[in-house]
C-alpha cells in the first residue's frame, strides 16, 4: 500500500494513519513521523514552493528507494505545500512493516531525504518579512548517513 501526496491545505495526520494502518493487515509495526511548523525565532508563517514536474516524481522515486532498502508493506508520504502557520503539520511519513527496524528505518530514511533532497523551497515570514531558508549543513550530514557502505 503506497500513498504519496502533495496537499495544498491543512491536513490531520491522524485521519490518514488509521486508514493506512488498516490497509496493511498482518503488519508487525507502523512508524509515523509528523513534522509541524515551529514558531522558533518569531516565525509567523512558512511557505513551501514546489515544482510539479519534479517534486511529486521525486517523492515517488524516494518511495521506490525506501521499498528497495527496507522490507516494507506500506508507505505513506504526505507533504504540505503553500502557506502554513506554526503548529500546522508540514509532513507525515508512515511506514508499515513486519518488523520494527524496517518501519523505523524507512521513516528515518524518507525524512532525511525529504528534508534535504526533495524539490521544495521554503521561506519564513518573520516580523512581516519573508526570508528564504538556505540548505543546512546538518541536513547534508543527515543525508550522508545513507550513502555509506552498509
Amino acid at each position: 500500500m503506497r500513498d504519496i501526496r502533495l496537499l495544498d491545505r491543512l491536513f490531520i495526520p491522524g485521519a490518514l494513519i488509521g486508514p493506512f494502518t488498516n490497509a496493511n493487515p498482518g503488519l508487525g509495526g507502523v512508524c509515523t513521523f509528523v513534522g509541524e511548523v515551529r514558531s522558533d525565532n518569531g516565525v509567523e508563517a512558512l511557505e513551501l514552493t514546489h515544482y510539479e514536474p519534479l517534486t511529486l516524481p521525486g517523492m515517488h522515486e524516494l518511495a521506490d528507494s525506501a521499498f528497495a532498502r527496507f522490507d516494507l508493506m506500506g508507505l505513506l508520504m504526505v507533504h504540505r505545500v503553500g502557506v502554513m502557520h506554526p503548529g500546522e503539520p508540514i509532513v507525515c511519513v508512515s511506514a508499515a512493516a513486519r518488523h520494527r527496524r524496517d518501519a523505523i528505518g524507512a521513516v528515518d530514511f524518507c525524512m532525511d531525504h525529504l528534508k534535504s533532497a526533495a524539490w521544495f523551497w521554503k521561506r519564513e515570514k518573520r516580523s512581516g518579512q519573508w526570508h528564504w531558508i538556505e540548505p543546512r549543513e546538518q541536513d547534508r550530514a543527515d543525508l550522508a548517513r545513507w550513502h555509506e557502505p552498509i
Partner: protein, 79 residues
C-alpha cells in the same frame, strides 16, 4: 514561445515567477534575456536547470523549442 519558470529565491531575482521567451532558446540566449545579476547566479553549479521536468546535466548544452518549459532551480531548502 518557451516558458521559463523561476523557483525559490530565483523568482525574487527575476521579479516574477515565470516569463516567456522566443523559441528556439539556448543557454546564451537565456542568459542574455535575464537580468545580469540573475544570469550570473545561474552560472553557480548549485543552481540546476530542467527542461520539461528533466534535469539538464550540462547547462551550456541547453536547447529549448516552442512549447518547452525551462525551470531554474536553486538549491532546495533545509529542514
Amino acid at each position: 514561445m518557451v516558458t521559463v519558470v523561476f523557483l525559490g529565491k530565483l523568482a525574487d531575482l527575476a521579479g516574477a515567477p515565470s516569463l516567456s521567451l522566443g523559441a528556439p532558446l539556448d543557454w546564451a540566449g537565456l542568459r542574455a534575456a535575464l537580468p545580469k545579476a540573475l544570469a550570473e547566479v545561474l552560472d553557480d553549479p548549485r543552481n540546476r536547470v530542467a527542461v520539461n521536468g528533466v534535469l539538464v546535466a550540462d547547462k551550456a548544452g541547453l536547447r529549448a523549442g516552442a512549447g518547452d518549459e525551462i525551470a531554474l532551480l536553486p538549491p532546495v531548502s533545509g529542514g
